[in-house]
């Protein structure tokens, strides 16, 4: 427990976790639609504001888990309620709390039926997402990780598009099937250690076979969530059918849980298996980058296009993680945030077009830039950010990842370059069509430009695009110590193994 900095004062993390839950509970009793909207906005905004002391109080000089709280939960099984944040998770927590009020605002008019239930789902979604990033007990993690499927399923299945039933069930089954072996792995680790405290499980001398099996169980669960090629097939369906807020949450937060899981669990708990299997995962990431790029290039549905681009972008993130050096991992974390910001914003943009034209087809949205200058401006900036234009956030992330990859293996790094080019190709293709179109555009004169509410939704994303793009140092400072500590331990562990191997010979 010495890796925890116990928070003696106000239990900030628990407050963040349980505030949305309590807010959701209130909706049982006051179920008028206008109240539900305002109330949810208020609760999510309060949660976002409550993360500000988290940022200001975060100590960037230590790799320990901060703001930690530990309470007994199930003493018979030594399962405890332990939460804490470190450099790896804090940015994701902040990303989650900041995105939620924007999702509420984006659904203000988009969701017309069963508004209260929708807001209820959003709130319990926030609870489970925050809990996943904060929990330091594996069972607590798993409980929230699985629980999240229910509200997300509901979001897609009730408020989704025409093929919502298919997409939601596919999403549910795919993710559940992925995580059942995770449960078995958790139980196995618990039985080895007698505790479910995650840091206790790290850097233990498990046998090679055990590590490989546990790693594979982890990997299956996380790779489906990321999603890595070839486990990505649920993603386009779910993204396309989900309502805008659902897509944004899915892209910005849920996908990050996969890569977060890899960083938090795969590397420290099964280091030997990580070293052994990293090459395969790296090439799988490259395959995902290239595949995502080519498939996105061929899409005529904007949501599908962005969904496939996510496969490519997340491929960069896994690439960064498994090159196992500081640049790569830091780049991966920054890129996780970037993807959350940029892709979330792009999904919001598509949602705004959809609200106007009731179609996501590129051909229907052609040439709307002329009548929607504000919209076009936002779309251009987010698209540029998506393919890593210098000055925007993704440039920093991708640059670091590719630099890390070069450090690791030049062939590998070179193989990822076409992905960056493809990203430019498909994003520019979309931009060209939506903003300018061809000579025979459909008549778009009836389209109204963005309202103040919509501009207010997109502006925070814009700020972060340029903030991370032009001044990433504050973000890097937050993650640096934790990443350096993780990698030091990882390479220290490897050296110890090598030394042991020499002695044994």
């Amino acid at each position: 427990m010495d890796c925890l900095l116990i928070n003696e004062g106000f239990p900030l993390l628990s407050f963040l976790i349980f505030l949305p839950l309590a807010g959701a509970f209130v909706l049982f009793f006051f179920s008028s639609e206008s109240f539900a909207r305002l109330w949810t906005l208020a609760v999510t905004t309060l949660a976002a504001l409550a993360t500000l002391p988290l940022i200001s109080g975060f100590d960037t000089t230590t790799a320990k888990y901060q703001f930690a709280e530990a309470h007994t939960w199930i003493p018979q099984l030594n399962i405890n309620y332990i939460v804490g944040v470190d450099g790896i998770s804090i940015l994701l927590v902040i990303l989650t709390t900041f995105i939620m009020p924007l999702c509420v605002l984006a659904s203000w008019k988009y969701i017309k039926t069963r508004v209260t239930a929708f807001m209820f789902c959003l709130l319990i979604m926030e609870t489970s997402m925050l809990g996943v990033f904060m929990s330091l007990d594996f069972v607590l993690f798993y409980v929230l990780w699985e629980f999240m499927l229910i509200p997300m399923y509901m979001l897609i299945a009730i408020w989704g598009g025409p093929r919502k039933i298919y997409a939601s069930i596919k999403f549910f089954l795919y993710t559940l099937a992925g995580s059942i072996l995770l449960l078995v792995a958790i139980i196995a680790l618990y039985l080895k250690n007698g505790s479910c405290f995650i840091p206790d499980m790290m850097w233990q001398n498990y046998s090679t076979t055990f590590q490989i099996l546990v790693f594979l169980a982890f990997f299956l669960a996380f790779a489906i969530k990321v999603p890595m090629f070839p486990f990505h097939t649920w993603l386009p369906a779910a993204h396309v059918e989900a309502p805008t807020a659902g897509s944004v949450i899915l892209a910005s937060v849920l996908l990050k849980m996969g890569t977060y899981g890899m960083l938090r669990f795969c590397l420290p708990i099964t280091p030997e298996a990580t070293f052994a299997l990293a090459p395969y995962i790296l090439w799988l990431s490259i395959a995902g980058i290239i595949y995502g790029g080519f498939t996105a290039l061929a899409q005529n549905d904007m949501k599908k296009l962005i969904a496939y681009s996510s496969v490519g972008h997340m491929g960069f993130v896994t690439l960064g993680i498994f090159v196992l050096n500081t640049r790569g991992v830091e780049g991966a974390i920054i890129q996780m945030i970037n993807h959350g910001v940029t892709t979330g914003a792009l999904f919001l943009c598509v949602g705004m077009i959809y609200e106007r034209t009731h179609s996501r087809e590129l051909s229907v949205a052609q040439g709307c830039g002329k009548y929607m200058p504000w919209y076009a401006t936002f779309l251009v900036i987010f698209s540029l950010s998506s393919f890593g234009f210098p000055g925007t956030n993704s440039f920093i992330g991708e640059f670091l990842i590719i630099a890390g990859a070069f450090e690791f293996n030049k062939t590998l790094a070179l193989a990822s370059i076409p992905g960056a080019v493809l990203a430019a190709a498909y994003m520019l293709r979309m931009l060209q069509k939506v903003v300018y179109g061809t000579e025979n555009n459909p008549d778009q004169s009836h389209l109204k430009d963005l309202s103040v509410r919509e501009i207010a939704v997109l502006t925070p994303f814009l700020i972060f695009v340029f903030w991370i793009g032009l001044g990433p140092q504050p973000f890097m400072d937050i993650i640096h110590v934790s990443v350096a500590n993780l990698l030091d331990q990882l390479h220290g562990w490897q050296q110890a193994q090598d030394v042991a191997a020499v002695f044994l010979q």
Partner: protein, 471 residues
């Protein structure tokens, strides 16, 4: 005082016997007295929870173990009486008789968990079973194909077969040890446990309870009886007798067989067969009661995971799991009984748009189905987690992985019901009217499902202490 809940049930049965003699019946009066006696049973079970006594020449043991089960049985019976108060599937003229047998069946089960002598045990079991055999064909003949008679006959034939096995096993136990008292049988068996007859005797007794619990290969009655019996009766059959079965299985697992490994391996095979058979068959069901029946077979397989650990911890988990299972199933049947307009069987499609027709029931249904599917933080997940932990601790890795896979299979059919209730259009189906007592019961069940799932330690501790009193 110690047998207060049993006395309450007898009083209930007698009261309804008197009512059945009346020439003119007021159906609200019958209904209200049934609910009243349900509450009386529950309250008396709570009052006598801490009692301890040995009665009737040592054949009847009142201890923490039996009282815990009686409390759960009393609660479940009370819930069944509340949500089944309208008894839509039973003709009005025979409702008092229906309640007589329902109370007698509950009485038999309560006696069963206290019985520590083979004959007492057998009599209690038959009291509960025969009452149930009669409840099934009491459904009114709505379909015109006398489906309930078919179900009744199947139930009694399979039931008698299982009883035969058990009685045969008991006769062996008596023959081998010369006693019908479990406390005498245990030491006597230990000295002769190398004999194969001991193993078969115990196995056959266990087989009789497998029938009640619907473990493969004693599960054949399940789908047809679930379908043929009225919704309220199925709600009872699916829940309360299984509590008795688990209570007795645990009692008999403590008998030494001399072949613990063989028994464990057998249990592993039965657990796997139950899980896969139940889940795979449930996938294709259209009728929701049949689906729940098959899902019950797979859940029985999970309970075997707890029993095969042969340790107090595993038994406590099994009790936790069966309690959770009873709560979840009661919640499901609460919804089914009340959505069904005239007491007819429900197809899954009949639940379409339930969220609009009756939001509270839809919520209760969704929570209980996700709980049955083992999604946290509901009781189904916690139970599964503890069962899997217990089994993996003993090194049954393959079994645990297979069980985990079953979770993924099962969620599909539970999800299809949630999908119907929450996403499908109601297609002009009528709204469902239920009274506030039933709604409140549904909410209580949901709260219990969530509470037991999020804070399991208290209950597991109680179950653990209770199990240790009989070991």
């Amino acid at each position: 005082m110690a047998i207060l809940p049993e006395l309450a049930l007898i009083a209930g049965a007698l009261a309804f016997f008197a009512l059945s003699l009346c020439k003119t019946l007021d159906s609200t009066q019958v209904k209200n007295s049934a609910v009243l006696f349900g509450f009386i049973t529950l309250i008396s079970a709570i009052i006598s929870y801490n009692q301890q006594a040995t009665m009737f020449y040592g054949s009847y043991e009142i201890d923490m173990y039996s009282q815990l089960f009686k409390l759960i049985i009393g609660f479940a019976l009370c819930v069944v009486l509340i949500f089944g108060q309208n008894l839509k599937g039973i003709d009005e003229s025979i409702r008092p008789e229906y309640y007589i047998f329902l109370f007698l069946s509950g009485l038999g089960l309560m006696m069963l968990v206290s019985a520590v002598e083979l004959i007492t045990l057998f009599v209690s079991l038959e009291l509960s079973s025969f009452a149930l055999y009669l409840l099934v064909p009491m459904r009114d003949d709505r379909t015109g194909v006398r489906q309930q008679m078919e179900a009744g006959i199947k139930y009694i034939l399979f039931g008698v077969l299982a009883t035969g096995f058990m009685l045969f096993g008991m006769s062996y136990l008596f023959g081998l040890t010369g006693s019908t008292y479990i406390k005498d049988i245990v030491p006597a068996l230990e000295s002769i446990s190398s004999q194969p007859a001991v193993f078969f005797a115990v196995l056959m007794v266990l087989g009789g309870f497998f029938y009640k619990l619907a473990v493969f290969p004693m599960h054949f009655w399940v789908p047809d009886i679930y379908e043929g019996a009225s919704n309220e009766t199925t709600g009872f059959i699916a829940t309360v007798p299984k509590l008795g079965a688990v209570a007795l299985l645990i009692r008999f697992m403590t008998l030494p067989t001399g072949q613990p490994e063989l028994l464990v391996n057998l249990f592993i095979v039965l657990a796997l067969c139950s899980m896969f058979y139940g889940n795979l068959c449930a996938l294709v069901q259209k009728d929701i009661k049949r689906m729940l029946g098959f899902s019950g077979i797979s859940h029985a397989g999970f309970i075997l995971l707890g029993l095969l650990t042969m340790q107090a911890g595993g038994y406590a988990t099994a009790i936790y799991y069966i309690t959770g299972y009873v709560l979840m199933n009661l919640a499901c049947f609460l919804v089914i009984s009340n959505v069904s307009v005239h007491g007819e069987n429900l197809k899954i499609d009949d639940l379409n748009g339930l969220h609009k027709r009756q939001p509270v029931l839809a919520f209760v249904l969704a929570v209980s189905l996700f709980a049955l599917g083992g999604i946290p933080p509901m009781v189904g997940f916690m139970g599964k987690f503890m069962l899997l932990t217990g089994a993996l601790k003993l090194g049954h890795l393959t079994l645990v992985i297979a069980a985990a896979f079953n979770t993924a299979i099962a969620i599909y059919y539970y999800l299809s019901v949630v999908k119907a209730a929450y996403t499908a259009d109601s297609e002009e189906r009528e709204n469902v009217e239920v009274n506030s007592l039933i709604k409140a019961t549904g909410v209580v069940l949901v709260l219990l499902i969530l509470l037991m799932g999020t804070l399991p330690s208290k209950f597991v501790a109680i179950a653990d202490t209770a199990v240790r009193t009989i070991m």
